[in-house]
Subunit: 153 residues, 4 copies
């Protein structure tokens, strides 16, 4: 996105995304929190706890992937018209370090198209002292979909 | 793996993988079940329920990714020596259809190396009548790791 | 594609793909040959020679990627209407062994959609004795495009 | 790489990479030029010409992928000890716009490990007026290899 903040097509995009996030039972099941929403960028936090870990005691990559996907997908949706919702076409993740502590996924649009949007997510572990450790980086393709209703929760 | 079943380096591989699976609290949090373990192939099932869904009522791709990753990773581990455990280096998934019903992830080793193994996972939705619908296909890289202890649960 | 050969929407698909292949100067620059075209599957061969190698004397992965991409893309195009052409949205490749000798890329459609098609390519090195060595495996997303003219060569 | 330039383990890294690049006949076959080499970042340019195009007259994605792969791989090699060479484990690319004019691939290390390095490449088309158009973005895994001799050319 060449550093410049793009103009959202839907002035109400932030409220719409907060609504969509609240309608994802899986985010609640993980314990993920929507931290920030801006045009083309969305942040989601996930405090790791025992139920989210794998056999070595680290956070399971599936939990990391889930917030990376949602952050990138909502970043893509933030630039779409109000009547569109977003579906993940494909997403690739590289895991950089074992996941521990509090995760923060930063989704960012790389290129917004009419139908397809390319977005990335960088996931870091944030320390109480403000330090950040790179945990994962993801790159994917998201599709704008019409007439796919979101269910009420 | 060119159709021929490879010879596992650890005769006890199946029990070892069932142990590792049982040590993944995240798999229990999702409600995933280890269905089958064979040399180079592992199957994991996930009955979808409300807490695993996204805003459109379908299974969240994070749940699909998690069993695809575990099935492929354990398939890789099934061909590793007894003192090795497996870590996901990277995994790419293409989502083919909305996830509904009971998911089944089939992990399969494509090429087993000494340190790196390439494996894939195909995720289908299985109907009561035995029909299968392709939900996702994933391809990734897994690393054999020494001296990484699995915690007791 | 679950083993069953799909029905092409364009009965003239094979001639159309051979025409498109002939209109790719890059395939000629590599020395690639279109080996076979069937509904949902396309094979492209590439005899490696010095100009295609990297610093270790093996085929450069860029040459392997190029035929993997074209084989998968044309496999996708083989199931599209006559007025559509195909563009690669994204493609991920895992390199399995150093490329030597004669490469053969087998493109295969995994799921054909109206706009997006998911296809894979497996690249092998074929020996004179009929043996095959797995060189690479690729998975990607391809888009059907209207009104994009192919230039005459 | 958090913005700070890492310290190369081999003080002679730049000369070593220029040597390796010169030993890649495929880069010469494409007409690619090594533009810059710094710790953790490498730039490769490719002026597009007819032999590099596909059926629509744009640069073939295989040419774009090849310089993206080499730029990221050499960026990874720039931080490796003098006795190591680099192999691509896997690389995923998203194509953002049709390739025309002069391409520039910027490879950058995301995380340098002892054996595995994660690096990305962003490919832009550079105009005579200094403008840049995003053409592709790639993310991949590279392996440090010992005792793999580079051939003399």
């Amino acid at each position: 996105m060449s550093g410049t903040a793009p103009t959202p097509r839907d002035p109400d995009f932030a409220a719409r995304i907060r609504r969509s996030f609240a309608r994802q039972p899986f985010m609640a099941h993980l314990g993920a929190e929507l931290v920030s929403v801006a045009p083309g960028t969305v942040e989601i936090a996930l405090p790791l706890r025992h139920v989210l870990t794998q056999q070595h005691g680290f956070g399971h990559a599936g939990a990391t992937w889930a917030i990376a996907d949602s952050a990138a997908g909502f970043a893509a949706q933030s630039l779409m018209p109000a009547d569109r919702t977003v579906l993940t076409v494909e997403l690739k993740i590289n895991l950089l370090a074992p996941a521990e502590g509090r995760l923060l996924a930063r989704g960012r649009v790389e290129r917004a198209g009419r139908r397809l949007t390319v977005a990335r997510s960088d996931v870091v572990a944030t320390g109480d002292d403000g330090t950040e450790t790179a945990i994962a980086t993801a790159l994917g393709t998201f599709m704008a979909v019409e007439g796919l209703a979101e269910r009420e929760t």
